[in-house]
Amino acid sequence: MEDIGVHFPSIWKHRPDERQLQAIIATLEEGIQLWDSEGKHLYSNPAIAALFDFSPDHPPDEFSFSKWPCYRDDGTPFHLEDYPVARVLATGLAQTRVLLHIVKPDDSDLWLRMSAYPIFDAKTKRITSVVSSAADITQMMEQGRRMEQMAHYDALTRLPNRVLLADRMYQAMARSQRSGETLAICMMDLDGFKPVNDTLGHKAGDQLLQEVSHRLSDSIRGGDTAARIGGDEFALLLGGLQSLREFEMIVGRLLQVISSPYTIGEQQVRISASIGVTLYPNDGSDPDLLLRHADQAMYLAKQAGKNQFQLFDSNQDQRLKANRGAVRKIEQALEQDQLVLYYQPKVDCRQGSVLGVEALVRWRHPVMGLLSPAEFLPLIENDDLIVTLGEWVAAEAMRQIVAWQKEGLDITVGINISARQLYHRDFSRRLREMMAGQPESVTRRLEIEIVETTALEDVSAVKDVIDDCRKLGVRFALDDFGTGFSSLVHLKRLAVDVLKIDQSFVRDMLNDPEDLAIVEGVIGMAAAFKRTVVAEGVETIDHILMLLELGCDVMQGHVLSRPMPASQVAGWVRSFKPDPLWQMSSSPRPTRDYFHLLLAEANHRQWHEEIMSGLHHMKGLAASNPKLDDRSCRFGQWYYNEGTRRFFSLAEFRALELVHQQLHQHAKEICENHACLSEGERQEQEARLVLENLEFVHLLRQFRHTLAKE
């Protein structure tokens, strides 16, 4: 009696005889074979012949298919000695459910699930033969493959989808870590795909996507991946890069390939691609973040004009984050009432009266103290937060107008509104809502100063807003007038009441003839267009006098008052007294000559201050400095040119020369000998210089009065 290596429970009452057994085996769909102890073929049932295309007349000699390529399910080759029958013979152990992938001569796949069992001699316990079974599971395997295909590949383009991309990324990143080579992760978005879809239809769009996919697959190297991750978006993994620059060539080629023309139906179509790239392991993020970084870079490529690639820049990313963080901080500051309005008076220096105040936002920072708007507003100028802030300012200013009116103080309050806000479609509606509960006595005290006039690109949109708000009684000012290139256009088209001369011009007008020309120009323009003009940034009495001479009466600046908290404004206005010096300005209108004399005087005052401050700081001017020369200093330039031409006939003018020369001579001596003088000597010399200067200024004033009387 022979024994089969496994014991099947006998469920049969009837023991079939050999003929019956053969009949059973012959009808099995599973192939059954019997082998001798040497591995020689003894028997095959008809199913085997069908599996291996044998005719029953020519039974296989050895292992049926030993000449056909055979693989395990992981794709590694299946060697003859691993064949289940051979394993049974070698080990004496049953082999069950072994998967074999066989490629038949006609290139078709055959998947088999095989088992093999030893049959032992009952006495000697030696293998007498081996029985093997082979089930054809090709259909099942192919179905499984199709399922996998569907789960991992995009149905339209047959490129890997997002799921497989994730898997490929892990593999590619692991490879990069092992090899030390760079992996480029790219996101690609088609430019101009939507119009094709819209004009030629979805079918054409699909065809285009398929063609793009073919081109992508053809353009990347063997181990690389091109995946479609939705719509017209693709991801690319380019591995094995030796240098950080190598990806540029590949991506450059891809751009070229994608942008060459397509023929869809009868139509020729052109599109291009924007590609964002990040490099692993330089960018050492996780797969999700890597894709997001590539996506950000892709967005930048789009913004920069499409049909190009951008490399993700982690520095820039860090800064963008910091900037976003800053916006959030300012937002919190607004929520937590850390922002306050300070008010800077606007004074009519000719009338000697306070006209109003400009509201300026300050940040009472819990750690850093009081911050000026220039330090934090630029961070939100492109964010919608500037709109929220503007609304807060408007509401706060109106609340303040009401509060002051209750105290008996009726002044105009100017608020700064950015161009971005004016463009906000709800701006005038919201302003109207805010004003709804207020009487006109309040709303007509509100003045809106439009800042960043350079950003006023859409003048007609702004014009509508202004016209809207003016119906509510609100006045408008153009701030920073003179900066930017389109000031004149603004002035002509916009119904503004006030022009504010930018403080940078006012501040430098005494030194810089070009700035002075701009100030004069703006004042002239305001007069021509019948607008009120306000000078900002007035820092000295010289500025005031000069501006009065030029015909600008309303001013704002440190010399009048710095911005102050609301609580101090009423007191300041009550105790305000105009400086009697302001009356010195000639009236009604100055002559041009007089004006230049005034400028020369201001220049000289500056010269003197510079010399004295140099001496105080123990350095003095170098003796070669042209400012020490009595003809090269700014006063000298005026005196020996225009001054001489105009006024040489006047004795008061000629009297100036000698004193001026002496003043320069002494200043020069002090500067030259500064180092050798004792402390006492130095003080003495400096005192003499001050006295001489007083005498000179006195002579200048006398001359000016003579001129004014003429």
Partner: protein, 144 residues
């Protein structure tokens, strides 16, 4: 200034306070990037972007440092050092604001002037001022 003068982050910049050092790296990067991108003919937009980044940096980073100063009572224990420190912070912001004002009125700062100010300020501030603060905080943290 040429590209050869890019600042290279080195141990000499390390103050020993992790949160400060991390932010300093960002500033060094910002500066180096300005150095390689900026020319005297660069667009005003680029200058505005660089100065805006600097303001954002100032807001973020100075707050971090000044917060630490308060928490560790640097102000009380080293009033001279902390006074100088705060002054340098304010001067930095004031300079950046002045540069932006200049852009507005058409007197743009030259590339070299901006970079030498930033380079000078940064190197001096980190190597001297911040390191003193770093040593102070490190000592306090070590003792705690």
């Amino acid at each position: 200034m040429t590209n050869a003068e890019l600042l290279v982050w080195s141990d000499s910049f390390v103050t020993g306070v992790a949160e400060i050092d991390e932010q300093h790296r960002i500033l060094v990067n910002t500066l180096n990037e300005a150095n390689s991108k900026l020319t005297d003919t660069s667009s005003i937009e680029l200058l505005e972007q660089i100065t805006r980044d600097l303001l954002s940096y100032a807001l973020y980073h100075f707050e971090t440092e000044e917060d630490l100063m308060q928490n560790y009572d640097y102000v009380g224990e080293k009033s001279d050092e902390s006074g100088t420190h705060l002054e340098q912070h304010r001067a930095f912001s004031a300079k950046v604001v002045a540069v932006r004002d200049g852009l507005k009125s058409g007197s743009r700062i030259s590339r070299d002037d901006l970079l030498s100010f930033l380079n000078g300020w940064l190197v001096n501030h980190i190597l001297n001022t911040d390191k003193k603060l770093g040593a102070f905080i490190s000592a306090k943290r070590g003792a705690a």
